[in-house]
Chain length 203, copies 2
DNA sequence: CTCTCTAAGTTGACACTGTCAAGATTGATC
DNA sequence: GATCAATCTTGACAGTGTCAACTTAGAGAG
């Protein structure tokens, strides 16, 4: 009551947001496994159980962070799509952008597309609402590229979208999980991938 | 000393193997997260710290289980390659086989190709020796298929191998991590993937 | 202005976890 | 038969997530 004049320890108002920020920071720098609710609480200057008034679970906190990730990713993707010139290899750009996002934010990516969140998460509508537009966007792009003649127009759009996503996700995972250790190959790998999917006009 | 006549509790000889088997069983049925060394020990009928004389770490135990997985997988793959007829769509068969292995053994797959093992595992040579043949085998197959005209002969073999693996791994992960929930689509997705990589002779 | 109600923050307690250290038991070897 | 190293044991510690039961304070009704 003496060291914080305007706000007493009770009801300091933006605890939920503070927790999200601090947790995101910890995860980015030390990894998901290093996140402890107790440490987090003391770090924010609050007692052990305080976070439980804002998140039912540790898992719900993680879901909320993933949700933020989806929001952030959505904006990035939209920005990127407006910059890209028509003459560029759009598919390659898209893939590179995807994999690099994963590479730059490995722990957040892990959270967004990893088992921790998605196993047994039938209930969390908020997360799903944040995530589904991302999936939908990929499908729309695929359709667009099929129409443009960049991708195989004969393929079922949903399937093709799933396969391309699978490819990007797989490459990203192999990289950030430490199986592909040479990150300098990212460009070469993505180029090879893009070439496989691209329809060659002259051949 | 009374209830086990032939073997006293000390030196019961095959503890390492017993631990591996019990741990594998638990992981398969309850998931990696559910594996506790203490529970495992009591389950096998031994005290808390006994496992530490056979595995330095919990992590080393997990590595050993993954290693077994690689051994087992190697045999399966070889069997499969001998059965496959020449006229079949070999690429599709291979992809389906891969993804279905992951689907049938999700937790073991998670271990074999997941971050738990591969992060900070520069030291574990035994694991690497078991895993690398799998990677090498994929590369060899890719080269073979390129020579056969099934895959793009112009592509760099290593890159192409990495991309195809990425695709399979990505699809597998999205399935077993609970993002692709409809497992009945596996065939359709793999077919679409195989078609993208395959060189079409008539077109 | 007071009374109440509730959202938010608190400490105590419990059942877990992995693992360090130090002691006990054993079968094999000189 | 004594020694030694491998193996198994219990004690202890520092963590973890979270249930229960409390305290506090701010907001709204009387």
């Amino acid at each position: 009551m003496s060291d914080s004049p305007s706000k007493s320890n009770y009801h300091h108002g933006d605890l939920r947001q503070k927790l999200l920020e601090a947790a995101t920071e910890t995860i980015k720098s030390q990894g998901i496994e290093a996140l402890s609710l107790r440490k987090l609480a003391t770090e924010v200057g609050v007692s052990r159980m305080a976070p439980y008034h804002h998140f039912k679970d540790k898992n719900e906190l993680l879901c909320a962070i993933a949700e933020q990730g989806f929001q952030q990713r959505k904006n990035t993707v939209v920005d990127q799509s407006q910059i890209t010139n028509e003459e560029d290899n759009q598919l390659l750009s898209y893939m590179l952008n995807y994999v690099r996002f994963a590479q730059k934010n490995p722990e957040i990516y892990e959270l967004m597309f990893g088992r921790t969140i998605w196993k047994n998460q039938i209930d969390n509508d908020s997360l799903k609402n944040a995530a589904y537009p991302t999936f939908q966007y990929q499908l729309d792009l695929t359709k667009q590229w099929q129409a443009n003649g960049l991708l195989d127009a004969n393929a079922n759009s949903l399937r093709l979208s799933q396969v391309i996503w699978g490819t990007m996700h797989g490459i990203a995972k192999l990289l950030i999980d430490g199986i592909y250790t040479d990150t300098s190959q990212i460009e070469a790998i993505c180029m090879c991938a893009a070439e496989q999917f691209a329809i060659k006009l002259e051949q």
